[in-house]
């Protein structure tokens, strides 16, 4: 009896339960800490987008291959999350010292309508000089975001709009392979060891 019900309707329910469990595991459960394959950014060598840096030079994923890279998305009208990330990244670069010179550091806007080359140049100029600001046509930004498996969304406010976006900092090795992220809510002291790992440097013990 029992066996038969498992094979019949019960089996279907059990399978559904497993599916729901798997969903929970990935979304809220312990599985959330590890990225599933579909959420994992592509290698930079498999991405395809064409943008412009804050000095007007054409750039793309190929620009980043050859050195380890730190890439994050944002917009210059962002009141809190983005300046915090840019300030944190500037601090990590200072902590890395001379090693920072061997890292690509890129801030990609998700708001190209307001963040043209001039706006990006002015904005990144306030932070560590190693930080490059990338902008470009909306559809190319969308392709970049897709390659990183990131998201962004325009949200209307009373008199204007703001952008919700992936706030994680993405780390890639020198071959362009995705290594890890530094998430916005993560303790900031984890960042420098993660960056050093992406760069293939030994990670010093925290002092």
């Amino acid at each position: 009896m029992r066996r038969r019900s498992v094979l019949g309707l019960g089996g279907g329910i059990a399978a559904l339960g497993l599916t729901l469990l798997a969903g929970w595991w990935q979304v809220d459960g312990p599985g959330a800490s590890g990225r599933t394959d579909e959420a994992r950014p592509l290698p930079l060598t498999e991405m395809d987008f064409a943008l412009i840096d804050h000095e007007g030079q054409p750039v793309g994923p190929e620009t980043l291959v050859g050195r380890a890279s730190l890439v994050f998305f944002g917009f210059t009208f962002c009141p809190a999350v983005c300046p915090t990330t840019l300030a944190d990244v500037s601090g990590w670069l200072a902590d890395l010292g001379e090693d920072a010179a061997r890292l690509n550091v890129v801030f990609v806007t998700v708001d190209p309508a307001r963040d043209d080359v001039k706006a990006m140049a002015e904005y990144v100029g306030y932070f560590d000089p190693a930080i490059r600001g990338w902008t470009g046509p909306e559809e190319q930004i969308a392709r970049a975001v897709e390659g990183f498996r990131a998201t962004y969304e325009r949200v209307t406010t009373d008199d204007s709009y703001t952008m919700n976006h992936t706030s994680s900092v993405f780390l890639f090795d020198a071959e362009g392979r995705f290594v890890s992220t530094v998430d916005y809510h993560e303790p900031r002291e984890f960042a420098v060891p993660k960056i050093r790992r992406a760069m293939g440097l030994e990670t010093k013990r925290a002092t």
């Binding site: 809190a80 999350v81 300030a87 500037s90 002015e122 990131a150 949200v155």
Partner: protein, 154 residues
Amino acid sequence: MRHAARSMLAALLLAPALATGAWAGSDDVVVENAWSRASIGTSRPGAAYMEVRNAGEEAVTLTGLQSDLAMVSEIHRVTTDDRGVSSMAPAGAIVIAPGETVAIAPGVMHVMLMQLQRPMREGESFPLTLNFSDGGEVPVPVPVLGIAARGPEG
């Protein structure tokens, strides 16, 4: 316009509290380590941070704040979902238990300063007033640090 309407509404709501002379709680509020980042012009919203400590013996409720620097000032809470997407939303009234400190700090909350009336210049400061449910107001001078500041020390 909107700001004026809000102030009027706040005044109406707070009138009964004033009438009964209920001021006690917010008298014991101490605001420390206030800071903000310089703005680029006035078209972008600004953000300020601080720690609000309740040194008294009864709970207080922070209901809002205002400044002549911005048409609208609100406390926003930042949440990051499991996909790493951050968004912000008004924090609503914040109850601070006796002896507790609420940190309006990067990564968690910020005072959002919308429709800046003048640029926020590094080295200057601006006045902000915290409003409490007992009708009390706590004025706070907020220093403006550089755009790349990470905390009250710069």
